[in-house]
């Protein structure tokens, strides 16, 4: 009996690993920055280059940093979710316009709406490197102490918003 059960058990373990593997996305590389202080940056504000956005000013509030660009197709898919988040009035979303031009970014916002409280610009991608950005869109949830608590790689979907981001924001707001 055992002779038959041992190979079966090994087979089921292998199947278990392979099955799990089906749902893993190799493009999702876990960020070492989660749990660490968010890199502080100062950058010109989109649409008003005379003003600077300083991430240190965000201390004391929970906020989202959404990295996007006008040339990014997946950002268009994510856009309605960001708009809904902005409409709720519960979520502080700030944008980081990554390797883009002001005019093109502004054109996208004019056409589709602006879900951001403010947008910092990162035209040469230096801030992106500090945040370990390797594909847009990416979103960081940053707590009151300025620590990155979550990183979303790829677009925020309704499901991710409801199951991951909203519960986390509720916890962090306390």
């Amino acid at each position: 009996m055992a002779k038959f059960l041992i190979p079966l058990a090994l087979f089921l373990i292998a199947v278990g690993f392979l099955f799990k593997g089906l749902y893993l996305d190799p493009h999702e590389v876990p960020s070492p920055l989660v749990g660490k202080p968010a890199p502080v940056f100062t950058a010109p504000v989109l649409g008003d280059a005379s003003k600077n956005f300083n991430s240190a000013d965000m201390k004391g509030q929970v906020w989202l940093l959404n990295v996007w660009a006008s040339w990014c197709g997946a950002c268009r898919d994510e856009h309605p979710v960001l708009m809904a988040m902005a409409k709720s009035g519960q979520i502080n979303t700030y944008g980081l316009d990554y390797k883009d031009t002001d005019a093109e970014a502004q054109a996208v916002l004019d056409a589709n709406g602006n879900p951001y409280k403010a947008i910092a610009t990162d035209m040469n991608g230096k801030i992106g490197i500090d945040y370990g950005v390797y594909g847009v869109p990416e979103t960081y949830v940053i707590d009151k102490a300025g620590v990155i608590r979550y990183k979303q790689i790829g677009p925020i979907t309704d499901e991710i918003l409801l199951t991951k981001i909203v519960p986390l924001l509720k916890e962090l707001a306390r």
């Binding site: 920055l33 991608g125 490197i129 390797y134 594909g135």
Partner: protein, 136 residues
């Protein structure tokens, strides 16, 4: 005549291809960059090294590494800089730690297990032969 014209076009059209990007001024630094970036993975096209990748991010990162090297940073400091941002994933040789222990030692564990099973099976069969021998 027409054939020769096509041949002429084939030869001259290569002139239209883009020029190679100029290397940085310092050949020693470029050699160091090349050696190091062959050990690093590009995050955009994940089966390509940072040296070979044509992704814009890879270009930015090579530029960043050049900058760090000019500032006098050692190879280890440059690697640490990248690992701090992108994680161990950028390394083509993953470090030995708790998370990668299974990766490093799993094959040896399987080898030992296989050896043990083989030993048991062979021993059992050897026993069978002996019994048969006694019967004969």
């Amino acid at each position: 005549m027409r054939k020769w014209f096509i041949v002429f076009l084939l030869f001259t059209s290569t002139v239209l291809a883009g020029e190679a990007k100029p290397l940085g001024e310092d050949p020693a630094l470029e050699a160091r960059l090349k050696a190091l970036s062959q050990e690093l993975r590009c995050l955009v096209c994940q089966n390509t090294t940072l040296a070979d990748s044509g992704a814009p991010l890879a270009e930015d990162l090579r530029q960043e590494i050049r900058q760090l090297m000019r500032e006098g940073k050692s190879d280890k400091e440059v690697v640490d800089y990248l690992v701090a941002r992108y994680g161990d994933f950028v390394l083509y040789r993953p470090p030995v730690n708790n998370e990668t222990a299974l990766l490093w030692f799993g094959p040896f564990a399987l080898l030992l297990l296989g050896g043990f099973v083989l030993f048991r099976v062979l021993k059992k069969h050897a026993g069978d032969e002996e019994i048969k021998g006694e019967d004969a």
